[in-house]
């Protein structure tokens, strides 16, 4: 008998704009010791479905309209708030997506860890703290006796997620709901966390519901898969059935949008560097250390990097966060002061140029930023955002600017009718189209794209990546493509450069690098991605 059987669950949100059917008649079940993955894009209702089980959705506007959820012989949906409280954190625990915001910054992790024991087990504080130390050790926190008294901000993102896992498991629940537990983390850390969840699950023989948008992760850990779209489950079955005998078109689309595979070296590349970097270094001052013995440590964010980018080439730059890859991109454009080395763009040495001298060159070098929400001015319409660079660099006059902007919007696939709209009226993918449009407005030769798709859903990612590739072809662009996502970089780049601790550790043709990584760190990076082998290799 399954541990949890959900039948015809329906949750609606009653907003001023009308009723949103977030979850619309969903049924699924999970057995003890098994993992059910619920896959879907953001907004597909996968999180709402799981939060509804514990009534953790905001009510109002949310309302559970109908359905049953049999857990251990009881219907969760008909329990009173008081009875449900005994289930939360005790029988069913949740690991949330963002470990940075899901821990209370004002309480020590120990204090937060022991709460389920205090309220569900009536355990004494001292014993509970002892248990907290044990479980912190179990999830791989070093020196747990000391760390139990630390505050969340003293932990890194990966470590905080380990704390969240410890907190979920401390009362030994029967069912663990993991809501995108690795989305906010780096690839290497993602692999560690997934491994940890899997190990703990096997050791305790608990059931897991794993909510994710990442199909690659699903292949790694799930027994059964449910694919959700617009509040409904469109397909469910075993991992093998989903990946190898795909029924529904949407699932096929999801599978196809995982960036992967090799591609031939395109003809657009000329054997002549557009950008040459030689011995480039960028250092930041780090003001850590006690205040009496203040050491002004210099952090070498970019450390003696030399690199050529050929005309028409897409060079992928990979590394974990903090490896200096973004700083390198900014250093090239002179957006951060460099401390040594030279940057030569099309034969012009940019080192030590004044802002005024840089102005005409800025037109030829543009940047696409990571976050399409933060990098667009919320008070400028699409027209304003796209017209500004055109007018500033005198590429259009007041009279011709509207025509130019419309042409740009066609280029990046934005509907002409939305020219007077503001950024908040667009989805994340459309906003990134605006950002791309703004970057190519000045007809640049070099575009530096800094994690342009990491804030987007997979299917949207694929669209934006395709758009960028088209534009590279059409406008003969040269691109430095910065990303932490190896499959994205592999899809985009002709050549890949790997950065680690500010140093360039390896560069190579994309497929050569994937097949025969030379440097230890590259190997480590490659082994960390949940690669699509096994069942999915068929799809490639």
């Amino acid at each position: 008998m399954p541990l949890l059987t959900v039948n015809d669950l329906t949750t609606h949100f009653h907003t001023r704009a009308g009723v949103v059917k977030a979850v619309d008649g969903v049924s699924f079940s999970v057995d003890q010791g098994q993992t059910l993955a619920i896959v879907g894009e953001s907004g597909s209702g996968k999180s709402v479905a799981c939060y509804s089980l514990l009534k953790l959705i905001p009510q109002p506007p949310g309302k559970i309209e109908s359905g049953t959820a049999l857990f251990d012989g009881r219907d969760l949906l008909s329990l009173s708030e008081k009875q449900l409280r005994k289930v939360r954190g005790n029988d069913i625990a949740i690991i949330f997506q963002d470990p940075m915001t899901s821990l209370n910054p004002y309480l020590t992790v120990g204090e937060q860890l022991i709460e389920p024991l205090l309220y569900h087990r009536d355990m004494a504080r001292k014993q509970a703290l002892q248990r907290a130390v044990e479980i912190l050790g179990e999830v791989g926190i070093v020196e747990p006796e000391k760390r139990v008294h630390s505050y969340p901000h003293e932990f890194s993102g990966g470590m905080r997620q380990r704390v969240m896992i410890a907190m979920a498991l401390i009362a030994e629940p029967k069912l663990l709901i993991c809501d995108e537990p690795t989305t906010a983390l780096d690839v290497t850390i993602q692999a560690q966390i997934l491994k940890l969840i899997r190990e703990l699950q096997q050791r305790r023989n608990i059931a897991v519901i794993f909510i994710t948008h990442d199909l690659a992760v699903v292949a790694d850990i799930a027994d059964t898969v449910a694919v959700m779209k617009e509040g409904r489950i469109v397909e469910q079955g075993s991992v093998d059935a989903i990946f190898n005998h795909t029924q529904h078109d949407y699932t096929k689309k999801l599978l196809a949008s995982i960036p992967k595979g090799a591609k031939p070296i395109p003809a657009r590349i000329e054997d002549q560097p557009l950008l040459s970097i030689h011995g480039l270094s960028t250092t930041f001052r780090d003001h850590s250390g006690s205040f009496l013995k203040r050491e002004q440590k210099l952090v070498r964010a970019v450390d003696d990097v030399s690199l050529d980018i050929q005309h028409g080439e897409i060079l992928g730059l990979v590394g974990e966060s903090g490896s200096g890859k973004s700083t390198l991109g900014r250093s090239i454009l002179g957006l951060v002061p460099t401390s040594g080395g030279s940057v030569v763009f099309d034969g012009i040495d940019l080192t030590g140029m004044s802002g005024k001298q840089m102005t005409p060159l800025r037109r030829r070098m543009q940047m696409i930023f990571q976050d399409p929400y933060a990098s667009l001015n919320p008070r400028m319409t699409v027209f304003d955002a796209l017209a500004e660079p055109l007018l500033y660099h005198k590429l259009a006059t007041r009279k011709t600017v509207t025509k130019e902007v419309l042409a740009l919007m066609d280029d990046v696939g934005l509907a002409r009718a939305s020219i007077r709209k503001y950024p908040h009226e667009f989805s994340g993918g459309q906003r990134q189209r605006i950002a791309v449009g703004r970057a190519i407005a000045t007809k640049p030769e070099l575009v530096i794209a800094d994690e342009p798709v990491s804030a987007l859903d997979v299917t949207i990612q694929a669209q934006i990546l395709k758009l960028i590739l088209q534009l590279v072809e059409k406008h003969n662009l040269t691109m430095l493509f910065i990303s932490h996502d190896l499959s994205v970089v592999r899809y985009m780049s002709d050549r890949i450069a790997v950065m680690h601790h500010g140093k360039l550790v390896e560069t190579g043709e994309t497929e050569t690098l994937f097949a025969q990584p030379q440097h230890d760190y590259t190997r480590q990076l490659l082994s960390a991605i949940p690669l699509l082998d096994g069942p999915i290799a068929v799809m490639v």
Partner: protein
């Protein structure tokens, strides 16, 4: 932390100097003087008085000798209470005013925080609208209206509480404390509502609920600390404001506190008394701002950490 406090204290010096200078010249610029009363005093006497209080010296000389006195902690002699120094007068009135301000503060925090938190827990319902409308009313209503109104209702009509006085009757501290505290209670209510609303929508509140904690633990343990940070930052300036703003209430309720000396000093052109109280209050405001900043750092582990690291 030590460096932070030191630098804030050093910043206070120019602030106080500006206050002293402005007040010093402004009171002297006002028409009339301490000895120009209705009663005609013989010119010789005025001259003797002015010589005694150094008023016959050039203005700049008076200014620097006053600064010199201040540097030694002396506010000088009072012009209108012969034989008594401003120091004595301030110290005499301060305990009463401080006591009143303290009670008013308790009233303000208790009513304000309760109303604000209540409103934040059920936003956009009557539980939110009613306390918040009352708060708006409280902010708008000046104490010279609030005081007599309360006296009228509770003192005259209902005869529950004494209408004025201080320290003679058991209930005579209630009305002044409420009158003085209401405006601040209203302000604290709005601040704590805003703070709590923001905190209660945080992910970590959802985490706390997902652990199966009772709602009161979620609110009081996980919500309150973050939600009241804006209130704590306001407490310092508020307390200083209560001390220096108490003169209206002290006048209404006939309370022998510092505020009444202050008002009388202004009417009497008691230069040293005006200056002394102004400088004293300015120093208090600076001090309490610093105190509330220190507390704000202390309850926020992240800031505490950053300061310890010397950042």
């Amino acid at each position: 932390m030590g460096r932070f406090i030191l630098s804030r204290l050093l910043q206070a010096i120019p602030v106080l100097l500006v206050v002293i200078t402005a007040t010093f010249f402004l009171v002297r610029a006002a028409p009339g003087g301490p000895f120009s009363a209705e009663k005609i005093v013989p010119p010789e006497v005025v001259k003797a008085l002015e010589a005694r209080y150094k008023l016959d010296q050039p203005m700049w000389q008076q200014y620097f000798s006053y600064l010199n006195d201040l540097a030694h902690g002396e506010f000088g002699p009072s012009f209108r209470y012969p034989g008594r120094s401003v120091n004595e007068l301030i110290l005499g009135g301060l305990p009463t005013t401080a006591e009143l301000a303290f009670y008013a503060m308790l009233v303000a925090i208790f009513i304000g925080a309760c109303a604000g938190v209540m409103a934040a827990l059920k936003p956009n319902t009557p539980q939110d609208y009613i306390p918040m409308s009352a708060a708006m009313l409280g902010i708008c209503m000046p104490s010279f209206l609030m005081g007599p109104l309360l006296v009228l209702i509770f003192g005259v009509w209902l005869e529950w509480l004494p209408v004025s006085g201080w320290g003679d009757l058991p209930g005579d501290k209630i009305l002044p404390a409420i009158t003085l505290g209401t405006g601040y209670a209203a302000y604290i209510a709005r601040l704590s509502r805003g703070g709590m609303l923001e905190v209660m929508s945080q992910d970590y509140i959802r985490t706390a609920r997902a652990k199966g904690l009772p709602e009161w633990v979620v609110v009081l343990k996980h919500g309150l600390r973050g939600g009241l940070i804006p209130v704590v930052a306001f407490l310092g300036p508020a307390f200083a404001g209560l001390l220096s703003g108490s003169f209206v209430v002290e006048t209404i309720f006939q309370i022998p506190g510092l505020g009444r000396f202050y008002v009388q000093a202004a009417f009497n052109r008691d230069y040293t008394m005006i200056l002394g109280t102004t400088v004293f209050f300015a120093a208090l405001i600076v001090l309490f701002n610093l105190l509330s900043d220190i507390i704000a750092v202390w309850i926020n582990p992240k800031l505490r950490h950053q300061l310890r690291e010397g950042r």
